[in-house]
Amino acid sequence: MTDSLESFIDDAFLKKLEKLKVISSKSSRSPHRGEHRSWQSGEGLEFLDYRKYHPGDDLRYVDWSVYGRLDKLFIKLFHAEKGQTAHILLDTSLSMGAGNPSKDITAKKLTAAISYICLSNLDKTGLMAFSDKIVEVKSPARGKKQFPEVLKFLLSRQPADQTDVNGCLAEYASICKNPGIAIIISDLFDPNGYQDGLKVLAYRNFDINVIQVLDHEELFWSQTGNFLLQDAETGEKKATFVDRHLLALYQKKIDGYIFDIKRYCGHYGINYFLCDTRIPFEELLTNYLSTGALFR
């Protein structure tokens, strides 16, 4: 895994990443200054509105040309430029260890790349690894110098335990002091669902992006025969004979499952991305996610 992570972090690729910027559909409410336009008025360059002068206002912002015509004092308002906080929530449950290449590797690559993009744009970037509970949290921090810390965080995590998406997302929503962009990277294979967790994040006003990482075989099961299916997380077993008919039923089921996620995300204004582990990583990052408006 280490090799895999390090192999993609070369200077040329990082240069490409620096050109990208994580965008948010919501204006930033961060108290810190940054590079993202805010609907709050403040010290920015982009004109926002006029308002009447009140005593104590900085006379530097009076529009004297308006005063010349109307003989009234008006203050020019500008968009405040705020910094934003990105929260990358990474699923590290046992189910993420499955696949070829494993979903865990793809998810960590994505996390590293998105972190680098955010850090290079002076966004505060925080990481949270979860399985059936929040395993570890890296508090949001700014600056590219944080990137080695990010890598260290990712390398220290191995797939383990079952998944509790709802519980972990709800808990993170409650402990997070400064909501911003939430990027959830998971396979979302949780028998208890994912909806409540996403809903709680949405209520906390997170700009949510869901990247569902799935192995190609999970998306398009191709094997037939007599199988003993064992759940990667619970160890539960189920013997069955997979024939063409059952394959079709499975395909219908997985398509339906993904469709439900998409519909739910659409309902709550959540960006949804489906990531097949067989899609080349660079293509996934620069084309697929950009087209889907996670990056610009």
Partner: protein
């Protein structure tokens, strides 16, 4: 439905074994999945139409059970019994023997037979098929089962009666082999009933429906015509003529006898009803040519009113003796009255071929000779590359001499007491069996291939006591007779209509011509000697043209039963009550095993197709 072989139903015992095999499942392969909860939902959904799925899953087993059931049923020979009025196939046996040439009304009996056959074909049902068998000398199946009336009629119209005596019984047995009694097939026998008595055969087979054609009952015919030489009187002969009146009334018949158109007897002879007379005529003088006996009467059956003989006096046999001296042999050859000997002491290769072809028999005495393709040879300790017998050594005083007395070459040759001082040890091909052998080697072989005939003696008779024994002239006579049989004696070259005639040819002849009465010349390849000529369907004089020389042989009917056109057998056949046409209600056994077999095969194909599709 009945089972003719119900024991085979025991095969159904395979079904439990099949079920047992199908209950054995392979060990499932363990696969880790991350979304078992989705799989469980899928399996739940599938269980909603599990009945159909189970059926689909067990389809191969169901097919296999069905196949076993069908195979067991097929092997148990099921038959379906029903009563039906189905018409069976028609098998027409049409007599084309000589008696069918008898006058009947304005035509012949065969014309009437042909009309009846055409009428029968016209009455056939569309499901009936027709098989036509021509009953001549040998039964001939003219075609397979036809369902085309026009074609069948055309075939019947193409049939012609010949001059041969028919083998009607053989034809009936052949036709009966095509009759399927379960199919209600009918054999229609259209004949005049002349010849052998077949009434018993017809009575014993209810499928035979005889249709007797009648007409014409006045016949007087020659039943025998022979020439013979009187014993010890070379130029004295006797001509035998047997004539029979087959009619029920007395007839006076003018009889004329001639040799090469020179009349030697002519007289009207009275015959009582059914009277047979044997006439012997003495004849003195040279005979050569065609002898003819003619009954100058216009009766209803003219084929037996004439008979011919081709007369041949014994001819000289030219023998080339290649020997440095063989006293006993030379003396013996001189003793034969019609054997002319040319003697040479050495073989001259340049003229050897001409010499062998100019002589009827070549005797080579104790010297090897070059490769020769044709000719008649007596080889005394002489060898050639043409004959696959090789000398490998010598045997002194060979013992336990045995002769194959069944062979015509050894007929009446007594080898007991024969002492041979020295004989060659021979190695021959396995197919060549010695006619005389000792415990150590074969002593005498006969060889025949293409235009070559040879007899090989492995010992010099002068160095044995053979010339002093009776066996010597007898053996030599046998050998000369076998090498050149047709020249030895006075002969009357004749045969009965339909029987083959052996034509003896000169060794050098490759191609010769024959001409049947009223026919064109036919080119013949001399593939064997004698050449077996089989197309003797017409009575009369046949001409053979060999090397621009013509000779003759004759073909006569000479069959009393065939000439008996009003035979009592005809009345017996006519007495058989008329059998109804094949449309009565009969119980029919329809075998069903093919149906079950086909169904089984179809199921197997379906299973194979589904396996290809599902796998």
């Amino acid at each position: 439905m009945q089972f003719l072989n119900p024991g085979m139903l025991a095969l159904l015992g395979i079904i439990p074994i099949l079920i047992l095999i199908h209950t054995l499942k392979p060990k499932p392969r363990q696969v880790d999945v991350t979304n078992l909860f989705l799989w469980q939902e899928v399996l739940k959904e599938r269980s909603s139409h599990l009945t159909f799925e189970r059926l689909k899953k067990n389809l191969p087993l169901l097919f296999q059970i069905c196949v076993v059931i069908l195979a067991a049923l097929a092997l148990a020979k099921p038959t379906w019994m029903y009563f039906g009025s189905q018409k069976g196939n028609m098998i027409l046996v049409i007599d084309t023997s000589a008696s069918m040439k008898t006058k009947a009304g304005t035509g012949t009996r065969f014309d009437v037979a042909r009309e009846k056959a055409v009428e029968l074909i016209g009455q056939r049902d569309h499901v009936q098929k027709i098989l036509i068998v021509e009953a001549g000398l040998k039964p001939v199946i003219k075609t397979g089962f036809l369902d085309n009336s026009t074609q069948a009629k055309s075939l019947v119209n193409s049939l012609k009666p010949s001059d041969v005596a028919g083998e009607l019984e053989q034809a009936i047995y052949l036709a009966l082999s095509f009759v399927d009694p379960s199919n209600n097939d009918a054999l229609y026998l259209i004949t005049d009933g002349a010849g052998e008595d077949i009434s018993t055969l017809v009575k014993n087979h209810p499928n035979i429906r005889p249709i007797i054609v009648t007409g014409g009952n006045l016949n007087i015919g020659i039943t025998k015509f022979k020439f013979r030489q009187e014993i010890n009187r070379n130029d004295h002969y006797e001509i035998m003529l047997e004539i029979k009146n087959f009619s029920a009334s007395p007839i006076t018949c003018p009889v004329r006898l001639s040799i090469d158109n020179t009349g030697i007897f002519k007289k009207s002879i009275p015959f009582e009803a059914h009277e047979k007379k044997l006439l012997i005529f003495p004849y003195t003088g040279l005979i050569s040519g065609i002898a003819g006996a003619i009954l100058e009467i216009d009766d209803d059956f003219s084929t037996d009113n004439r008979a011919y003989l081709s007369l041949n006096t014994a001819k000289d046999i030219w023998v080339l003796l290649v020997s440095r001296g063989n006293f006993f042999l030379e003396k013996l050859l001189k003793a034969y009255p019609n054997v002319k000997v040319n003697s040479v002491k050495e073989i001259i290769p340049s003229s050897w071929k001409d010499q062998t072809l100019r002589n009827d028999i070549v005797i080579v005495d104790r010297m090897d000779f070059p490769k020769t393709e044709k000719g008649n040879f007596l080889l005394i300790d002489a060898y050639s590359p043409s004959i696959p017998i090789v000398k490998t050594g010598h045997v002194r005083f060979p013992e336990n001499l045995v002769g194959d007395l069944k062979n015509p070459l050894m007929a009446n040759v007594n080898v007991s007491g024969l002492i041979i001082e020295k004989a060659a040890k021979l190695r021959a091909e396995k197919r060549l069996q010695p006619l005389m052998r000792s415990g150590q080697t074969g002593l005498m072989y006969a060889y025949e291939k293409g235009g070559m005939r040879a007899v090989l003696l492995s010992f010099d008779p002068t160095r044995s006591n053979l010339p002093l024994k009776i066996a010597f002239p007898v053996m030599m006579s046998n050998i000369i007779n076998w090498l050149n049989p047709h020249k030895l004696e006075f002969s009357t070259l004749q045969t009965r209509a339909g029987e083959p005639f052996d034509i003896y040819l000169n060794p050098q002849t490759d191609i010769f011509y024959t001409r049947a009465p009223g026919q064109k010349w036919e080119k013949q390849q001399a593939s064997t000697n004698p050449f077996r000529y089989t197309r003797t369907r017409s009575v009369g004089i046949y001409i053979i043209s060999e090397n621009d020389k013509q000779r003759y042989f004759t073909v006569n009917l000479a069959d009393e039963s065939e000439s008996n056109i009003a035979s009592p057998a005809i009345d017996k056949l006519s007495d058989i009550p008329e059998r109804s046409v094949a449309s009565e209600e009969i119980s029919v056994q329809q075998p069903l095993w093919t149906v079950f077999l086909l169904l089984g095969c179809t199921l197997l194909m379906v299973e194979w197709y589904l396996w290809l599709k599902i796998r």
